[in-house]
Symmetry: C2
Subunit: 555 residues, 2 copies
């Protein structure tokens, strides 16, 4: 009665928080372990991590994790490892590509986790437990050493095709291994998971190599410092800027923790070629004239507190941006970041700085994801029995069905779009939804993991909308003494008007208790009576709904 | 010593909150009076309105407002009238185009303001006071009856060119009056203000008439209800959908307060042609089969609480969206609204509803703003002495200089880009910055105007990030009694962990007061001591910074 179960711990219909379990009998193989990003309903939350409760219930039932395979070195595929690994009693075996191992090692080091991570060798299957073998194959993406995973299971071959594009001219020369895709397809694949994020685009995604000449051209006519901001893991983009700087005789300085770290890791692993004499320490920049400098700086989304933003607002010790300088945003804005991103660009523009960004120059950035055209090519090469779009939101999954599989003539039932929390079961070449798990958002806020739940978040949101009012009612010798009541408000109205409001609240409190206080038997009754009636009265006079907290204080 | 002063009450480098004063001697002419939209640093705020304190200081000095001219019927050009008008002791004369008057009248009615608004007749100058005449001329934009204003002043002609495009095939046949532009240019213009919002685009903005055929095509192959969401003031888009429905035999129902109101106003003014028998009341929709219905519904930005969003989540009484229906988003997402907008699209897609949106079909929406090409054409026609880009952010103003005026060969000094709060003075054909005003954000929150200032907003934001903790310290007969202290927290940690945290805080409070309490002379000293030290201690253990409010309660 065994079947292969595919369990999406981070949920389906999501771009981030990637974490998939493949379960067979008593074995569990994990693919990816990434973080997610909080939305506006989660104020104050730093990061989201996958809800691993299902996994640990299975382990408690006697199942064992035979290994964790990581597809590539992006946060939404490997960033949750520091949170998830400490939950295991026995540390699972981890496999990843060389650069990804480098990134993971640094992450784990930072939080004091020691474990050895194994390196994939492409096309060499590795045995995981009794039931699984995993083989990596090269694909192109916006971080070097990205892999797709071919998973052999007792129920056939699963092709785990997370983030990729078909770049014909990748910077490191390592193309997507379409030959192996074809071979695998001809041998027979039961289920292929395919990155669908960029399915709305019907033109082939342009090659990363098209950004280099433009970035060089922009450097050429820069009078002062050439300051470029980009994703810190985009080693190929960094390589192209390094090459341009070498050619045009500029020194390269890296600024910002993430960029500096990733560059060091990539250089150590020979994934970034740094010509002699090009790179300088950021503290030595003052030894060069502005026109001799190329600065790669972190903060391409306009993130508050990033090195770029500090420089933009004149608060960076090493980087002062001057009118002869040029600032290049070599990254698209990620949806949700529009406001800080454009605020930074506006601030530079208003200071008379030349600033170039993708809205005015389409060659500053090329996506790392396959368009519908390339997704179709991969489906044709693999021609699996079933296909499931991953790494996209619900609209992308729906469009994948329309633009990719329907347009290729595949029949109904070929494309699987299970619900967010649904578990697929594969058995005898058939696949169906066999289970549903419950996935709760798991928050990281400061040092706390998971202690910021729905109530805390909804309280935070309410307070952000209209502030809060605390009503302190002293009870002396068992009797409420309203003459000594105090009211404290924050975020509700301006201090000048606050006295008026506080007097209003005190008066209303006395009235409410006189009128209905007798019906309230317990302290909770009193509190909920005041909360309810004061809310109504305040809404009537000012149309706001602050959180109201009555506190009875026994003295 | 008189000069003409141009005072931007809503600030420069902004898209919204348009309000300009033209001042000469004792007279003030106002152009536009629009609202702005709060950003993420202004949680809970509904709307922003221009800071009119400069205006009222001038009035107090004896100046008088000779009139308010409104360029077109968009919220960011006329939406602040209900807030700003009641501030005047004498109601100023207001002028606008017919549809704009219709929109304004409805707004003022809603808040009980009674005043007569005058109607522009294009190319007929109207005298405002002794010093100004204003003449309107037709331009195309995303709301009918949009005007540019030609202002004759003692210091020459000012061309006030707010939002427009050069649509060669407008739906109502009323093209931008380029002939008059040329005439005016030939007679001599001192300063032209030009809408620069869409300057990043180098291709001519496509005609509104290109959306109609696509919207009709999509209607043709819809099995169930055709549901389309659009900007409620976009009467031309609505006209095209009405025409398509008429042609394809569907009945049209309007849903959502703003759409229903605007349609009624436009029909009354003959700005929207409704063929007989096409429009039905939304309450009669159940008398028709789904394939006979075309529903135009408000909520094109995915706004919480809008009719569309209630329908998407199955909470709308009249509209149930079913698998055979088609939902069309005929509006681009406005920056900052990405999350709710795409959430709505995802929700529909995940329910198996066909949803079409601009990312997958570029013909669903055409912008109402001129591209750099059209901006250049207008500058060439007007060839003023000076030009000032308006209606854009700082990056757009900078690009206007580069793409429009520099590319036309105009010299340095031709393009004026004053600071956000700067006042221009025109005298004897010269222009310079002559003053700087102070513009404070003016918030509307519920029924309160301006009572939500920087402190309230920063408190709201802090509470949204990490919640708050109130520390109640009873003082009995003049002595703090810490044994009776109480601690209340909200939005800080999950209730289960809260007891632990509260015990920690109580313990720390006792320690802090034992150690440093003697140094605190006043109640404020005690409060600030506790606030400071507790903040530090909490940050150390949990890396969060809730607002801490110590309250000493005398009982």
């Amino acid at each position: 009665m065994s079947e292969l179960r595919l369990v999406p711990l981070g949920g389906l219909g999501k771009v981030t928080q990637n974490m998939y379990l493949y379960e067979y009998e008593d074995e569990i193989l994990i693919v990816d372990c990434g973080i997610g990003f909080p939305d506006e309903y989660m104020p104050g939350v730093d990061t989201l991590i996958p809800d691993t409760s299902y996994l640990h219930e299975e382990i408690a039932k006697g199942k064992k994790v035979v290994g964790i395979a990581i597809s590539h070195g992006h946060e939404d595929h490997m960033g949750a490892l520091p949170y998830v690994l400490p939950e295991f009693e026995t540390m699972p075996m981890i496999w990843a590509s060389p650069l990804t191992v480098g990134f993971i090692n640094k992450k784990l080091q930072d939080v004091g986790i020691e474990t050895e991570i194994n390196v994939f060798q492409d096309l060499k299957p590795v045995q995981y437990g009794k039931y699984f073998t995993v083989m990596s194959l090269a694909v192109t993406h916006s971080v070097p050493d990205t892999k797709h995973l071919v998973i052999n299971t007792p129920e056939g071959v699963i092709y785990h095709g997370s983030d990729f594009k078909l770049d014909e001219h990748p910077i490191d020369g390592v193309k997507t291994d379409v030959a192996t895709m074809k071979e695998l397809g001809d041998k027979g694949i039961t289920l292929a998971l395919i990155d669908c994020l960029r399915v709305e685009n019907l033109d082939r995604t342009e090659s990363e190599s098209e950004t280099g000449p433009e970035l060089e051209k922009l450097m050429l006519n820069t009078k002062g410092k050439y300051i470029i901001t980009l994703m810190s893991s985009h080693i190929h983009r960094i390589q192209q800027v390094v090459n341009a700087a070498k050619k045009l005789g500029r020194k390269v300085a890296f600024i910002g923790r993430s960029v500096e770290q990733n560059v060091k890791i990539a250089m150590d692993l020979n994934k970034l070629q740094m010509p002699d004499g090009v790179m300088i320490d950021k503290r030595d920049m003052d030894q060069y004239r502005d026109k001799e400098l190329c600065i790669m700086i972190a903060g391409s989304q306009g993130q508050e507190g990033s090195s770029l933003i500090r420089a933009v607002y004149g608060e960076h010790r090493q980087v002062q941006i001057l009118p002869d300088d040029k600032v290049v945003f070599s990254a698209n804005v990620i949806p949700g970041n529009e406001i800080p991103y454009y605020r930074a660009i506006n601030e530079l523009a208003s200071n008379g700085i030349t600033v170039i960004y993708p809205d005015v120059n389409h060659d500053l950035h090329k996506s790392g994801h396959a368009s519908a055209v390339e997704q179709r090519e991969v489906v044709k090469l693999l021609h699996p029995k079933f296909v499931m779009p991953i790494g996209g939101e619900d609209r992308h999954r729906a469009k994948f069905k329309e633009y990719v599989t329907q347009s290729l003539g595949y029949k109904k039932g070929f494309t699987l779009i299970p619900g967010h929390e649904e578990v697929l079961g594969l058995k005898d070449g058939e696949v169906r939804v066999v289970d549903k798990i419950s996935i709760k958002p798991r928050t990281v806020d400061g040092l706390g993991i998971g202690d910021v739940g729905p109530t805390v978040l909804s309280d935070r949101r309410s307070m952000s909308q209209a502030g809060m009012i605390v009503l302190i009612l002293p009870r002396i010798n068992g009797r409420l003494d309203l003459s000594k009541m105090d009211v404290v408000s924050k975020g509700f109205v301006f201090v000048k008007e606050a006295t008026e409001v506080i007097d209003f609240i005190k008066l209303q409190t006395v009235e409410i208790l006189e009128k209905d206080g007798r019906k309230a038997k317990t302290d909770e009754d009193v509190a909920s009576l005041l909360e309810r009636q004061l809310s109504k009265k305040l809404y009537k006079v000012i149309r706001r709904e602050p959180i109201i907290i009555p506190v009875i204080l026994d003295v």
